[in-house]
Structures are given as C-alpha cells and as structure tokens.
C-alpha cells in the first residue's frame, strides 16, 4: 500500500487518552493538550460493543423509529377519567378459567419463584375474592395451580410493589386521549400495613373492601362529574413544587384533592350524609403517596402507544416482581428481557435494616420509564436525604446522569433547578448498553416477610444484564444472527 502520510509541520496539539502523566508533562512543556479521563468499558462490553457496531448499519432506520417513538411519548394527553372494578375493564379477569386470575407486578413469574411479600399479597387477594376461606387455604390454592398468574403489563395495568390486581378491586382508569388507549392501576392503600407490601390481615382486607364499596365508586363518580382530570399539566406543577412523582407525591396528591374536592362533594350528596365524603377526603389527605398510582396508570398510558414500533430502540417498560427485573423495548414486540433484581440502597425506618429488606419490586419503574422518579430527582431535593444520596447538588447529578441514556428532554415537564431543562425522556437501550449507566429507580423497600409492610426507601438500579439481552434481542429483530 502506498501512503502519502504528511507530517505535522508545527507543534502538535495532543489528545491524551490514558495515563495522565503524559498530559501533565506535555502541558508543562507548553504543548496544547486535552486529557481524556479514560475508564475501562464495563465487563461484558465486548458483546455489547459488537452488537452496537452491527446496529450502526441500521442507524438511519433506528433514528427514524426512535423519533416516532419520542413523538408519541411527547404527544400523549393522559386524563384520569374513571374508577371501575378491575374485572369490568379487564374482561380477561372474569373470563379466566374458574374466574381465578391474579395480575402481579413485573415480568411473568410462577408461584414457586415468587418472593415472600408477593405470595402474601396473593394469599390476601384470594381471600378477598372469596376463592379460599383463609390465608392458609389461599396459599395452598395458589401453590396447587388453582390460580392463574399474569403480569399487569399484559393487560394494560400496572401496580406498585407487589402490584396485585384481581377482578373486584377498584382500578383507576387513565385515558391517553391522543391515542385513545386506556390504562389501569389500583387505588393506593396508604402507608404501613398494606397489600402492596405483602400485608394480608383482616385490617388490610377491610380497607380493600372499603375502597371497593365506598371510596372507589365515589372517586369514579367525582371523576365522571369533573369530566376527567388532565394529568400532564398537573405533573408540570408538581415538578415545580418539589415532587418527582415516585418517592414524593406530596404536591400532586394535594393538587388532585384540590381539583376533585367540589366534584367529590356533589357526588356524595346522595350518600350517607357526610361520613363517606369526609372519610374519603381524609383518606386522600392522609396519604402523601395517593397520586403515585394515578401517575403510574398515566405513565403506562403514555408508554403503551410507544410499543410495537419496528426498529425503535426505546425502552417501553421497566418492571420488577421482587425476583426478576424485566424490561420491554418498543421494537421487540411482547418479549421481556429479565435478570435477577438488585437490592435497593437506601434508608430504613427505625428498627429495620438491610437484613429485613426484600429485593426491588413493583411496576412503579414505569415512572422512570417516562422520565420521572429518579430521572427527575433534580426537582425533588427533599427526596435526596431519604434515598440516601444526601446533598441537593447530588440530585442534579442524578438527573444529568440519566440524561446520558435518554434521547430527549421533555419540554412539557421542566425542572426549575436545571434552569427549566426538561426531564430526560426516552431511554435508549443502546445508550445504556454502551455507557453501562444503569437507570436509577426511586423506590420503597418492602420487608422480606409477607405482612410486615414497608421498612424503608431508597434507590434501586436496573440490572445491565436486562439491557444487554434486550440489545441482542433488538439486533435479532433487525436481522442480526450469531
């Protein structure tokens, strides 16, 4: 090969990649130098690097598909419209053989692999539905295959922590009016001993019955009377008021209560005097996480239209069942890409420690999937202490880091502390696999034993193995073999 290499005629400008000492010495001699703080790619990078290089040949197609995915995400118009029994809006729940179908959080999982809280919540739900007389019989029924288990995600639903949804439970309905799809989520039961953390005693079941019989119908009436509650603008205000909508929903819960209070009053006028109304308003006011479940149904309604776009590398769902962490991509159909779930890092309520903690759990990572939760940490400095990161400036760093694995900033949802920059939106599986930056998720921590409830809160990380697998699955969908 002949070459026409030409030599630099004058003092070189050097980019130094690796040993810093070389840069220091060159700089000391007055040579223009820029040092790259090189770090080794993460372990297992070779396979990912190979796939990413292969995907490079489809760059234009992927970019077009991702632009469409982002367009759909940002065009969403989610409205909280109703409350209905789950069995009425998810017809499979009543059509199932023996009518015994339980929806749970996370990717698919069989009874034998479920964690303690998940089993506890299912036993409680079976008793609640009257499929067994007591918890013992319920567990037996579940273990013997007398109940079908399916992910919420397969039926347009989501649920926090254990996420258990059965036919007679009241679910909130969010309609994405831009795309005419609907999503569902149980009503948040409050803090402490609740079914989403695996609690299942009489007090828990009684509260569920009240939600089913009194609160759910009342909220449904109020919403119908109000003509629905537009959620996108509510989130904007919540961000400005210090919520990130996963770990902290103080502002959004209050804004919801304020917006619905008159409609509650009117809807309650034919009920038993003021008692149900008062108890219902107090229920919302007493639960700072009330909005979380609304936000989750909203997030699901935003992401579902993003699913099924060919060659789109956006993450459409992230979810955990307490055993596995699973993700789905827009461009890979119905497939889940799962890996063992990690332990959250965080702070514990007095008397509890890491030893008591259950691994990460819940469909609530759908909040991070749309750019809220840990992705919007910068808007919620108050959360930082709780999730163990400490300083307010650390919160900004969280959001900035997540900006490195997303494709856009959501112009509708801006963060004052970042000079009005939007929340990072649209996780690109390629960016995660290339950088090794794990999506962060703000989460509550459940006790590993069923029935105890929440013991702390912190930050969990999506396992990179999910993204590595998803990258491979994505490449296969585009014709990669080998």
């Amino acid at each position: 090969m002949t070459s026409k290499s030409s030599l630099p005629g004058e003092m070189p400008g050097v980019i130094n990649i690796g040993l810093r000492g070389f840069a220091t010495e060159l700089a000391a001699r007055g040579v223009p130098v820029a040092h790259v703080d090189w770090r080794p790619p993460r372990p297992g990078h070779e396979r990912a690097a190979h796939l990413l290089a292969w995907l490079g040949r489809h760059e234009a197609r992927i970019a077009r598909a991702n632009a469409e995915g982002l367009r759909r995400m940002l065009a969403a118009n989610p409205v909280l419209v109703d409350v209905q029994p789950a069995g009425k809006v998810i017809s499979e729940l009543v059509k199932a053989v023996g009518n015994r179908m339980v929806l749970h959080a996370g990717p698919p999982i069989e009874w034998t692999r479920m964690c303690g809280p998940m089993r506890g919540a299912i036993a409680g739900a079976i008793v609640f539905e009257g499929w067994a007389a007591d918890l013992k019989a319920a567990a037996k029924l579940a273990a013997s295959g007398g109940v079908q288990f399916h992910p919420n995600h397969h039926y347009g639903a989501v649920g926090p922590m254990t996420g258990i949804t059965t036919r007679s439970m009241p679910v909130m309905v969010v309609e994405n009016r831009a795309f005419h799809n609907r999503s569902y989520c149980m009503i948040n039961e409050g803090l402490g001993k609740v079914m989403r953390f695996g609690a299942n005693d009489a007090e828990v079941l009684a509260r569920l019955a009240w939600l089913r019989d009194d609160f759910g119908p009342l909220l449904g009436n109020a919403l119908r009377a109000a003509g629905g509650l537009e959620l996108a603008p509510l989130i904007s205000r919540g961000l400005a008021m210090g919520d990130e909508m996963h770990q902290r929903n103080v502002a959004c819960s209050a804004l919801t209560l304020r917006a619905l209070a008159p409609h509650f009053a009117r809807a309650a006028r034919n009920l038993d005097g003021a008692e149900t109304l008062a108890r219902s308003l107090a229920f919302i006011a007493g639960n700072e996480q009330f909005f979380l479940n609304i936000g989750m149904a909203m997030a699901k309604s935003i992401m579902d239209p993003v699913r099924g776009i060919e060659a789109c590398s956006l993450v459409a769902a992230m979810s955990r069942n307490g055993t596995d962490f699973g993700i789905r991509l827009s461009g890979t159909g119905d497939a889940w890409f799962s890996a063992p779930v990690e332990m959250p890092q965080g702070l514990y309520f007095p008397g509890y420690s890491e030893r008591d903690a259950n691994p990460d759990m819940g469909d609530s990572a759908i909040m991070e999937t749309i750019g809220l939760g840990a992705f919007a940490m910068a808007s919620a400095p108050a959360v930082m202490g709780f999730v163990g990161a400490g300083r307010a400036s650390d919160a900004l760093a969280f959001t900035r880091a997540m900006g490195g694995i997303t494709l856009a900033k959501n112009p509708r949802w801006t963060i004052p502390a970042l000079d009005g920059e939007g929340v990072p939106a649209g996780i690109d599986v390629r960016k995660v696999a290339a950088s090794g930056v794990q999506p962060a998720i703000n989460t509550g921590i459940a006790h590993r034993k069923p029935g105890v409830g929440q013991v702390g809160a912190g930050v969990a990380r999506a396992p990179l193995a999910c993204f590595d697998q998803a990258l491979a699955g994505f490449a296969r969908c585009l014709g990669f073999s080998g």
């Binding site: 070459s3 026409k4 630099p8 070189p12 130094n16 990649i17 790259v36």
Partner: protein, 493 residues
C-alpha cells in the same frame, strides 16, 4: 506474616498511579509487600501467585480496586493506602480532564495527534476513533492484537496519517518530544524507529554532537515483522522524504523479517535523500552504495562521541542490566564483535538465550524492560526499583567482574535514576565489581545529562560517551583480564 486486603467498589485509577502508591506503601514500616490492582481475573491470579490475595480480595469484581498489603503492619498499610488514594484522586480531579474523546476534541479543535495509553485490548478502538477524526495516532499500549495493528496501519495510510505503535513509547514530532523522549534541538535528521530507546539513544547522540532532529517517528516493535510488513516504516520513509525539514533519514530496528528487510532496503535505495540503515544484529544483506549501514546505534548517529580512557582488568564476567531493550541488543553486538560469548533474555542473532540462572553463560545481558520482568509492575525506566534490586544482587555475586548499565533519562523517565544507582553502590561499598554505564539524555532534559553523569562518577561509575562505548570498555576490560593470551577483537572499529 499477615495479609490484609481491602476492596474499593467501582474504583478505577491507571495502573502507573496505583504502582506508585504500592511502592510508597512497601516502604512503610512493618509492610513487606504491597500491591494495588483492579480486580480482573488475571490480576487476581497475579496477586494469588505472589501470596497477596485474601478472601476479601477474591470477592473483587473487574471494576473494583484491590488493595493488598503483606507484613506485620498490614492493617495500618491499608489505612495508609486509602489516604494515598484519596489524596491522589483529589489531585487528579483538580486538573482539567474530559470524559470522552469528543469533548476533548471540542476543547482542543486544533489537535492533530492522539497519544493512547489505555490497556491493550481497548487501544485499537481508541486509535481508530482518533484516525477517523483525522488525528495521527501514537499508541503506547502494548498487547494490541496483530490483526488490529495491520488494519489500523492500512486505515491510517488511506487517510495519510501516521499510526505510531502499538508499543510505541517515543516520538519527536515537529521538535516536540512525546511520551518517553528527550529534549533535542530541531535539525535536518529524520529518524524512523521500531524501538523507543533506540530512537532516544540516536537522537541524544545527535543532539550531544551539536546537530538536530526534524522528526522522530516511532513505528512500534512489530512493524518490521512478516505480518505487519513494515507498513509504517515505509509510510514514515515516504513522509520524511517529502518533508522539507528533513535532509537525511535514519532507520532503526532490531533484525526485521527477511522479506520485509528486502522491501525496506529497496525503498531506501530509491530514496532521494541519504538513508542510514541500522538493523541491529541483522546479517547477510546487501545494499547499494549510497545506503549507509550502521552496525550500532552510535554508528547510526554518526559523528564522534569522545573516547573514555579506562584501564581496568576484569577477572570476572560481564553482567549487563538494561532498561532499554535496544540498548541491551546493541551491547550484545558490541561484546560479540569483541569475540565474547553472550547470553540474554532478549538475544540478538548469535547470542544465547538465558536459561533460568546466570551461571549458564559467562556474559549475561538482561533486558529488564522485557515482559517477563514488567508483568504487573512499572517499566524500570519509570521506576528503577527492579533494576536496582538486580544491581544489588550483581554487586554481591561471585564471578561478576563488570556490571554494565544504561541510564535513560528524558521526559517520562524517573527523575533521578543516577541518584538511585549511587545509593545502591553506597550501600554495597566494599569488594565490588566495576560498574560501567552510559547516560541516554541531553542537557535540556529535566534530569540534565551532565548532572546525572556527575552523580554516577562520584559514585565510582565509569561513564562512557555512548552505550556502545560502555559495552566496548566492558569488553576490553574483560579481554585484558583474561589469564592466557588475550584474543584479539574479531572486529575493531
């Protein structure tokens, strides 16, 4: 003896920084050995081999750092290590750096050279990126796969760029010494070298002789192998021929593959500028008259370094302890030219390989920069502790009459190698073999040539004007010391 390990999760620092800390630790009271390594499987195996790995260290993952200390104060050692690490990191954070190549290039849009010193498995990707952005690449990293080297060199040629290395530690680009190089004046001599210390020695001899260098282009130790086919050497010859500042060209290499040598000789004979070929130890090749052949680096540099007068009769053997591989090769050639039998761990054609112990061959020259010595520790040019250990041993060893050393200074090298040698000699005072050395460097180097020479002389070292002359002095002293009629040198210069 206690072994203590500590694992820092998700910690990365470059290995040279870690080794410097390890060295500081090892000098702490009650600490016998210390090592800081990233927890890759191969590093863990290395630590285990050296008896430094505990259960905790075993648990480290490839993105963790293992701090391992052996000694009765092992625990205190760990505390000290943490302290050194934090002070180190604090320092590195304060000076400016960029997270990615792209951001560095944005900050320095005029950049035309990328200096790459990441672990070998990652180096090719970094080099390719630099070439793609139109920068010349200099790859200091070794262990880059051969196929990658060939591909990168072809890619660079297509773009009219230099791909120096892999395993290239020395270059002089437009008068600027890069990485391990010396402060030499600019001038009309262009050098293409497959050897870092070869380039250093020749450029320093030229500089000390009052002349200067246009460019010194490193091509990497494998460039003249059959597989790489001299791709970069030929490209660099073309570039120097076209370069207005260059008047003559010197090519330096260890013996190349035969077919490659033919190509290089053919190219040299077509050259419009005078070419000197210094293919250390190469035999049986013919060149046209106008291509000059140099048997040693000193000959390649031309000019006449002053002679050193030295009358000494050595009754023992020669022990050479070299930091520079090419300096070791040159010394072997000089000794053999004087009829001496030589063994080396890096033998030139005609020399024997070292079989484990020194006793096998009378005159033994070790390249301490070779892989078997530098595995898991810094090169002796940066950190001479390894060479000084060998020096201590050689000074005590029976039958050694002359110890032959190279002292390479300049950018990147240790700040006072002569001072360290003097310390070792001071400790070993008594019945010592004679130490003969040369200093590869210039007055403008940070260590200052004359100061290093002075320190060595004060410690009783005979300092020759070049590495070749140091070897010659050693050979003559040995020949003089022989009991029965001394053999005449086979070839005198």
């Amino acid at each position: 003896m206690k072994i203590a390990n500590r694992v820092r999760r998700g910690f990365y620092a470059d290995s040279v920084a870690l080794m410097r800390i390890a060295r500081e630790l090892a000098s702490a009271p009650g600490v016998m050995r210390a090592s800081l390594m990233i927890g890759t499987p191969s590093n863990k195996a290395l630590l285990k081999e050296s008896g430094l790995l505990s259960k905790e260290g075993e648990s480290a993952r490839p993105d963790d750092l293992i701090i391992a200390v052996k000694g009765k104060n092992a625990e205190e050692g760990l505390v000290l290590a943490e302290k050194l690490l934090t002070s180190g990191t604090a320092k590195s954070e304060s000076s400016e750096s960029h997270p990615t190549f792209a951001s560095a290039l944005r900050a320095l849009p005029g950049a035309n050279l990328a200096l790459i010193s990441v672990p070998g498995e990652f180096a090719a990707a970094e080099a390719r990126r630099a070439l793609e952005h139109g920068l010349h690449a200099m790859v200091f990293s070794d262990n880059v796969p051969l196929a990658e080297e060939v591909a990168l060199k072809d890619f660079a040629a297509q773009r009219g760029l230099l791909m120096m290395g892999p395993d290239c530690g020395t270059a002089l680009i437009a008068g600027v010494p890069i990485a391990f190089a010396n402060a030499v004046p600019r001038g009309g001599i262009g050098i293409v070298s497959a050897s870092g210390t070869g380039l250093q020695e020749v450029s320093c001899l030229i500089a000390r002789g009052g002349r200067g260098i246009s460019h010194g282009i490193g091509v990497g130790g494998r460039d003249l192998s059959q597989a790489v086919g001299g791709r970069m050497t030929l490209a660099a010859m073309n570039a120097l021929e076209a370069d207005a500042a260059t008047q003559r060209i010197i090519i330096i290499s260890k013996p190349p593959a035969h077919s490659v040598m033919k190509k290089v000789v053919a190219r040299a004979s077509r050259s419009r500028k005078p070419v000197t070929l210094c293919l250390l130890g190469a035999k049986n090749f013919k060149t046209p008259k106008h291509v000059r052949l140099a048997r040693t680096l000193e000959e390649a540099a031309g000019g006449k370094p002053g002679e050193t007068k030295f009358e000494f009769k050595s009754k023992g053997s020669i022990r050479g302890l070299f930091c520079g591989g090419t300096l070791c090769a040159e010394a072997q050639i000089v000794l053999m030219d004087h009829g001496l039998k030589v063994a080396s761990n890096a033998p030139v054609p005609g020399a024997r390989g070292v079989v484990k112990r020194a006793s096998a061959a009378p005159h033994q020259l070790l390249d301490l920069g070779a892989g078997e010595f530098t595995r898991g520790r810094p090169h002796p040019m940066i950190e001479p502790a390894l060479r000084n250990q060998h020096l201590e041993r050689a000074l005590r060893e029976k039958g050694v009459g002359v110890v032959l050393l190279d002292v390479v200074i300049g950018y990147g090298a240790h700040l006072d190698p002569a001072g360290l040698i003097a310390q070792v000699l001071e400790k070993a005072k008594g019945r010592n073999p004679q130490v003969i050395a040369s200093v590869t460097g210039t007055e403008a180097d940070p260590q200052v040539y004359s100061r290093q020479v002075k320190k060595l002389r004060a410690a009783g070292v005979v300092v020759a004007a070049s590495n070749a002359q140091a070897a010659k002095l050693a050979a003559l002293a040995t020949l003089r010391g022989r009991p029965s009629p001394a053999r005449r040198p086979r070839r005198s210069r």
